[in-house]
Amino acid sequence: MGVDKRPPAITVRGLTVRFDGHPPVLDELDLAVPGGEIVAIVGPSGCGKSTLLRSIAGLLAPVGGTIEFALTGASRDGQASAAERSLSTCPPAEPTGLGYVFQEPALLPWRNVIENVQLPLELQGEPWRQQRESGAADALRSVHLAAASWHKFPRQLSGGMRMRASLARALVVDPDVLLLDEPFAAVDDMLRTLLNELVVELWMQQPRTILFVTHNIAEAIYLSHRIVVLSRGRIRAELDNPLPWPRERAQRGSSEFADVYRQVSSALWAAAQEAA
């Protein structure tokens, strides 16, 4: 267990998520995400990583526990929403506080890039088109998507460009909290490295609270302040990441990196064996 350096931006207490007739996916999970830090969540497939993120985003109603956001002051009470869950509705997330990036770019195929990036602003009721466009343009510039591609449709772009557009769409609302749900799981190694560096760069520009789910240990180490090992719905280990900032590509080959890698890897194996 690491020592909290900053006050938590997200506090999860006793979070329990269960789908009818199955063992709980998340089992009384406690987690504090310090404000302005990147926390990587690693764990074997099916350990509840995505479920945790989806609960925090308000896409799933937990059967128990609470999720509190320090920055927006909002909280979500599991007990209260249990009734709503039976009606298969969930409370919507706090509109402006969250950005979410999925494993797939999930762009609307009938909208071009800049229209896709504007979507969250439209949904949140930004009435001025000019305002939306300039917001989208800023977000697109921040992820280094060249203006030449702004008016192209997703099908006309490469996988990497689509992922950048997806990232820009999450950033366009200037979220306090960014939730990344295995965003680079489906891209090749080189592109993954480049996109990892982009996340580092974005965080250096503006240190948002980022919760990053991945099954790639190297990625988890490169990007995070803290690494959380999740298995069978519970947190099995929490490690402070000693790698110095700013992160650079060369660090991936350092002995320090290799040490952390061994630690995370053995924690993961231990968690997996405990589960089995």
């Binding site: 989806r54 919507p92 999930a106 609307l108 195929p109 979507l119 949904l123 449709f153 099908r155």
Partner: protein, 260 residues
């Protein structure tokens, strides 16, 4: 398959030659099977009647298609709202689809009279199913990730319908419309077979086929059948043209042509 003019023309000429030869060799009476030359003459003699008939049938089928597009889209939006509604009503739409129009046309005449709008109604009923089923599929088969995205940003049910479900349904709807276009022409002609009134201004292809058949003018009947085919193809190409224009946001036209 790509349409190639030269082989297609050769095929048609060959077919007409065999037909002509068959009639000459067998010596069949023209009231049973007239040779293509006689059909061509009938086509020329009756060109004005045929033109008016094609126009009337075209109007009826286009109106029928528009009616089924409008009512089908509304029905689809209603059905997309709940699984219960779909289970409650879609079986009966399928049922409506399997009842032969020929069987319900007389009933429609009883209700709506020997009128042009009865023909439009028959055409609409026949062409309704592909619109409803495709549009409903398009409205409900939305990528769940995209629904999550909308919910994360606090989208209302209405926003999800307008900005996600309806745009998602457009491609499906257009594919349904292509099937419906052909059916609308068939429906209009079937309607006219029953409703037909040669004297009225709305004497469509079905009407004159019926009348000429009674006068044993087989050559003219075949000419009218040819005109019906031409009309069907014309309606289909209009729908294709419109849909290609409409779909530029959804697909590069090249992909879409390859699919269709």
């Amino acid at each position: 398959m790509q349409f190639q003019w030269l082989p297609a023309t050769c095929g048609l000429i060959l077919f007409l030659l065999v037909w002509q030869l068959f009639v000459v060799v067998t010596g069949l009476p023209p009231i049973l099977l007239p040779p293509p030359t006689q059909v061509a003459m009938a086509l020329w003699q009756e060109r004005l009647v045929l033109c008016r008939a094609v126009t009337a049938t075209f109007a009826a089928s286009m109106l029928g298609l528009c009616l089924s597009l409008a009512s089908g889209s509304i029905l689809a939006v209603v059905f997309a709202q709940s699984r219960w509604l779909r289970s409650a009503f879609i079986p009966y739409i399928v049922f409506l689809q399997t009842v032969p129009v020929v069987a319900i046309a007389p009933l429609l005449i009883t209700w709506f009279g020997y009128r042009f709008h009865t023909v439009v109604l028959v055409s609409a009923i026949v062409s309704l199913f592909p619109v409803v089923s495709n549009a409903t599929t398009g409205l409900i088969s939305v990528d769940p990730l995209l629904v999550d995205l909308f919910r994360i940003h606090g989208a209302s049910r209405w926003q999800i319908l307008i900005k996600l479900r309806i745009p998602n349904a457009v491609r499906y709807l257009v594919l349904g419309l292509r099937v419906s276009a052909g059916l609308a022409v068939i429906g209009a002609i079937v309607g006219e077979l029953f409703v037909g009134d040669v004297i009225s201004r709305f004497a469509g292809l079905g009407t004159i086929i019926n009348a000429w058949q009674r006068m044993v003018r087989t050559d003219a009947v075949i000419a009218a059948i040819g005109a019906s085919t031409f009309l069907g193809m014309a309606v289909l190409s209009i729908v294709n043209l419109v849909s290609t224009r409409l779909l530029h946001r959804w697909t590069d036209s090249a992909d879409f042509e390859a699919q269709g």
